[in-house]
Structure formats: structure tokens, C-alpha cells
């Protein structure tokens, strides 16, 4: 689709127009911690903040009621939580975060067993992705298949010089851009400037070679490797909570025998109890087994199934780890340890025709298009 220019100073008025019709989430700083919160008209997002929490909680809510139950004379009356229908826009998320949704879509939009609440929200959410003008020293998106200027989401934009170059990537994106006011076409120079920025930012990050899914699976049996790598890990779970691509959850009831609710909430494979069966058996009793599971799930099992590494290189885990565990250390150590095994990122992953296509009819941001509220101003 055609790239356009949003004039300098016009971004707030566009956001305000969106706020009038959608629930708009944008990066906001609160007491030194930043995350995606719903904003009001006139509220300027903190675009430069690399948010401590990812936006995954907007579509995959941290705690969510899935049903209520009540005992009555006929037995038990079950009421499922109403379908989510609020139209939402996540504004100003980075390409890594936007890409993370395409990854969590793979298990959650399964055509036979979708995660209902996620699917409902995904249909009603559009993503306005803001490319990066700068990489943090914990960023490594280019090592895991991403890029700081990756065109992913519904609208793509990049700050050139106060003016933004914008592009609608989907029908929903076009709908959103209708409220952005009059946009001129981007010139060849504008596009070249955008390309230069993207390349400069990408070059500022070290591109690591990632061992293949198969090689990493072979590394499973090298217990000493995992014990040494994870010696300092506290198994606290902070990484899984700030991570945009971690999606483990738990379902818990809250109530009495007579009435109550059932909730689906975030869980973490780093917790000791995560896998502990009622009889006491715990296959991942030690913290190094749990960290092994986390690394292999992201870099081996998920790629084996879906063709993509379940990590977008946002670096939040590195930043928020209390003991500064660095995922990039794992990648580099694993590369050394698997030297001699089948290496090479591309050849081991399933090819397009080997991966089950996303046959689900839930199209992300579908509902934004159907009931478009854009107008030609």
C-alpha cells in the first residue's frame, strides 16, 4: 500500500480522533515504570519509552473471567463470559511487539481449539506500529527474524524528522488512517530516509547466529550445560511476565460450592508448582530444568511446530531480570555447545508448505474493518 506523510504536530489530533471511536492503548509512564495503558483525548503517549511490560496483556489479559456458575434446583447453571466486542487500537507499539502477536496467534488462533478470549479480542484490535529510530543495548530483534523497521501490524509508521511516514498494511489500517486527516504522498527521498534509518538501527545491533531447533533439542541431554548456564537464575518468573511471547496460563476457580467464577490467568513455567502434579511428581523440580524448558520451548519446540522462533528480541527479559541473566549468553553458549551438530537457522525450520496454514477464520483486526468509523475529513 502507498506510503504517506503525516505532517509534524498532527499525530496528537489523529490519536484524539481514534480515542473518540476506539479504546486506544499507548505507552504511558507511571512512577518510573512504563506499560501500555488506555489513554484519553489529549493525552500524549510516551513514544520513546521502551515499555517494561509488553502490550500482550491487552489481548491476552493477565486475569480474565471465562465463566460464572451457580447452583440451583436444576443442578448447576453455567454462564460463559460475554464475547469481547470492544474495538481497540494499540498505538505506538514497536515492530517487535507487533510481531509478537503474529507469534501468539499461532497457538491461540488454532482453528480447532482456539483460545476464545484471545481470538475475540484479536478480531477487534488493530495495531499501529511505530518503527524504531534507536535500538537499546538489550535489543536483538535482528537475531530472531525481526527488524527495527519491520512492516507488521495494521498501520506502520516511522518518525522521519517530526513528520511521520505512514503506511496502511491492511484494510483495517486504511480504515484507521482515514481519521488522520489529509496525508500527502511520501516522496522518493522520504522513503530513502526511512530505509536509511531502518538500516542504521539494524546495524547498531549485533546479529547473533542462533542454533537450529534440532541442534538445541540435542542439547537437552547436556545437563552440565544447563546447570552452568542457569546457576544464578532465581526462577522468579519476572522474565515470563514481561515477555511478549510467553503465553502459558492457568485456569483457577474462585468461589464456593454454591456460586463463583472461573478465571484464566497468566502462569509461568519458571514457578516450581507450574508442573507439579497432585501426587507430588514434578518433572521439572529443579530451576535449571525449568529454564531449559523455557529456552527450548522458544528456540526449538515452537519453531519445530510453527516455523518461527518464539522470541522477538525485545530484550525486556534481560532488562528486568534481577540477576541480569542475558538470553544472548544462552544463544552464544548454545551455539558453541552445538558446534558440529546441524547448524544453520533456515534449513532446519519447517518450510511454508510443511507448516499448517492458519486456517482459522478469525482474522486479526477483522472487526475494525467491518464497522469502520473512519471518515474523509
Amino acid at each position: 500500500m502507498v506510503t504517506k506523510i503525516l505532517p509534524a504536530g498532527n499525530i496528537q489530533s489523529w490519536i484524539d480522533k481514534l480515542v473518540a471511536s476506539y479504546g486506544v492503548y499507548a505507552p504511558v509512564e507511571v512512577e518510573g515504570a512504563s506499560s501500555f495503558k488506555q489513554i484519553k483525548a489529549g493525552q500524549a503517549p510516551a513514544f520513546d519509552a521502551r515499555t517494561d511490560l509488553s502490550p500482550k496483556g491487552i489481548i491476552f489479559k493477565q486475569v480474565e473471567k471465562i465463566l460464572s456458575y451457580k447452583k440451583d434446583e436444576n443442578g448447576i447453571a453455567i454462564e460463559y463470559a460475554p464475547e469481547e466486542e470492544t474495538k481497540t487500537v494499540i498505538f505506538g507499539l514497536r515492530p517487535c511487539d507487533a510481531r509478537s502477536f503474529t507469534l501468539t496467534d499461532k497457538p491461540f488462533l488454532d482453528p480447532v481449539m482456539p483460545e476464545n478470549k484471545y481470538a475475540e479480542r484479536r478480531k477487534h484490535t488493530a495495531l499501529v506500529t511505530m518503527a524504531c529510530n534507536k535500538a537499546c543495548n538489550t535489543c536483538f530483534c535482528t537475531s530472531v527474524g525481526g527488524a527495527p523497521d519491520e512492516k507488521v501490524g495494521d498501520v506502520w509508521m516511522m518518525n522521519l524528522d517530526g513528520r511521520y511516514i505512514v503506511e496502511a498494511l491492511t484494510e483495517a489500517g486504511e480504515e484507521l488512517l482515514k481519521t488522520a486527516g489529509s496525508l500527502s504522498d511520501a516522496t522518493v527521498d522520504d522513503e530513502a530516509a526511512a530505509k536509511r534509518i531502518g538500516e542504521t538501527v539494524a546495524a547498531s545491533m549485533e546479529k547473533l547466529e542462533v542454533p537450529s531447533a534440532k541442534a538445541l533439542d540435542n542439547l537437552f541431554t547436556d545437563e552440565a550445560f544447563w546447570q552452568n548456564l542457569t546457576a544464578k537464575c532465581l526462577s522468579c518468573g519476572a522474565c515470563t511476565f514481561v515477555c511478549p511471547t510467553c503465553y502459558c496460563f492457568d485456569v483457577k476457580d474462585d468461589g464456593t460450592v454454591k456460586s463463583g467464577d472461573r478465571y484464566r490467568g497468566w502462569d509461568s513455567c519458571m514457578f516450581f508448582q507450574y508442573n507439579r502434579a497432585a501426587g507430588g511428581h514434578n518433572p521439572r523440580e529443579f530451576h535449571w530444568k525449568r529454564m531449559r524448558q523455557r529456552m527450548l520451548h522458544k528456540f526449538s519446540y515452537f519453531p519445530e511446530k510453527y516455523g518461527d522462533i518464539d522470541c522477538v528480541g525485545c530484550g525486556r527479559c534481560i532488562k528486568s531480570c534481577p540477576v541480569s541473566y542475558d538470553l544472548r549468553d544462552f544463544i552464544q553458549s548454545a551455539l558453541r555447545a552445538t558446534a558440529g551438530m546441524e547448524l544453520g537457522f533456515a534449513e532446519e525450520l519447517p518450510t511454508e508448505d510443511q507448516v499448517e496454514p492458519l486456517a482459522c477464520d478469525v482474522k486479526p483486526s477483522d472487526e475494525i474493518v467491518k464497522t469502520g468509523v473512519g471518515s474523509d475529513d
Binding site: 512512577e31 543495548n137 534481560i318
Partner: protein, 315 residues
Amino acid sequence: MEKLQTQLREKAIELLDKGEVTAVIGWGSGWNPAKATPLFARDKETADKFVFNPFCFNNLAVYLPRMNEKTAIMAKPCEAGSIVALLAEGKIARENIYVVGVACRGIVDPVKLEKAVGSIDDATAAYLDGDSVVVEIGGEAKRVPFAEVAMDKCMSCNQQDTTFSDVMVGEPAQVPQGQPSLVVPEDADAAWWAAFWTKEFDRCIRCYACRESCPACYCRDNCAVQSLRERWQHVTWDSKEALMFHAQRAMHVAGRCIECGACERACPMGIPLTLLHQQVGKAVKKLFDFNVGEKVDERPPLETFRKEELEKSGH
């Protein structure tokens, strides 16, 4: 500081060489020069990488219960106090540890540092230069007095001579005296505190990093808050439930908390947890006249019951 660091490395190598221990826990350099990271050494090459600087904020004692070999641990007064507390509770065996006391002169509070110099995420270098902390970001060297960015709790540290150790490395030094980052009003009453904590815990994401980084919370996630058989807490995660979790934890570590601040450092949302534990600590001191981390044979007051206490309280 350089000299102290060299001495620590030499000591670690000596202990490993002699076979006195098979593992040494200390600090090393991490991805961020302004944040040290725990380092486990089992050979000379790794032991040569130990560092000690004002960015060594983790409490290493948290690893001791999981070690099943004779381990040496580099201990600031914080760790030493935690080790005493763990010994007093019978959680670790004295013969399994070798404590290398480190004469610490205070640790930098990353939150205070960021308030002074901006985000430290992209720091290329960080070091102590005389009485100042220097952080180099984007080619620019930002300098700030150590006293201004030292952790609040360091300023009132009364354990620099780390009484509990097998060997002491370094000369005790005066900790910096500066302004606490959080000033609690003189007239702070229950209403003030309720409003304060409700606001702070609104950010709590219940990741439990605070609990896992705490040496006193050795229940790990067999924690009461996650108990299924007896449901102490609701499933919903909001400010009220978060406050409930932290209040419970504060009560469970009352009389056992060394106020090292590891919980606050671990929190990805920057919640000032040490303040909560300090308030409870004050109450413990007042009620039981008990100082955590001083005597190996003295169990914490909330774990013991003495008849005199009944009499003292007038019951």
C-alpha cells in the same frame, strides 16, 4: 575498590585450589556495567572474573539453600546478616559454607541513579571515581556524588564490620550519608499509608520476583499465597490482592528480613518494597528488641514463644 576486588579473586582461587570448597559465589560483570550479576566459580578461570563494586546489589545468600556442595560466598553485611538468619533457622548447615566477608562501603540504588543521570540501560561504563559515581552513556560521562545515589538502607547500615565471616577482606569504610529517596511525612497515618501502598501496588504484576530474590522466603512458590488447598487469596490480580500478598509476605519475613533491598531491586515495576519491610522491621525492634542477623543461635521472635513475653505484654 580495585585492591579489594583483586583480594577477593585471590581468596576465591585459593579456596578452590586448596579444595576447601568446590564452588564460590560472588559477583561478576553483566550486560550492564551499572548492574553486577551473581557469578558461580568452580575453577580458577572463572574465579578470576569476580568483581566487587557499588553495583553489587544482589543478596547472594538466596542461593545457599540450593547448594549441595561446600560453598564459599562473598558476603557484604547484607549477605552476612541473611546467612546468620538462615543458620538461626536451621536452613543451611554451618559446615557447608565458608563466608568471605567483604567490607562494603555502600551500594548504588539504580532508581536513584536513573533519577540523577537518566536511563542507565545503554550505559557503556560505570564506576566509582573517588566519592562520585560515573556513568558513561553515549560517549558522555555523567558524574554524581555517591552520597546522592547510595541506597537508603546503606546509609543506616550498622554492620560494616560484618561480624559474621570466616575471613574478612577489605577495610571497613564509612558509608555515604545522603538524602533518602522516599520521604515519609512526619504525620503519616494509616490513611496516608493506605493511599500510598494502594497506588504503588497498582503496578504490581504478581510476578513474585521479590519473593524469589529474598533469602528469607525459602518457601519459594510453596508460598501461602499460591496455596490451593486453603485459598487465602482471590484469584483476581488487582491492587487490593497485591497489597494482601505483600502484607502477608511482610508479616512472614518480620523478624527475619535483613532489609537488604533485594526485593525492591528485583521488582520489574520499581515498587519501593524495602519501605514496607522497614516499617515492619521497626515494629519488630520496638516490640521484641530484636536485631536480625546478629546471633546464630537466636531464632526470630515470631518463631519463638517465651513466657516472659506474655507477662511483659500484661496478659
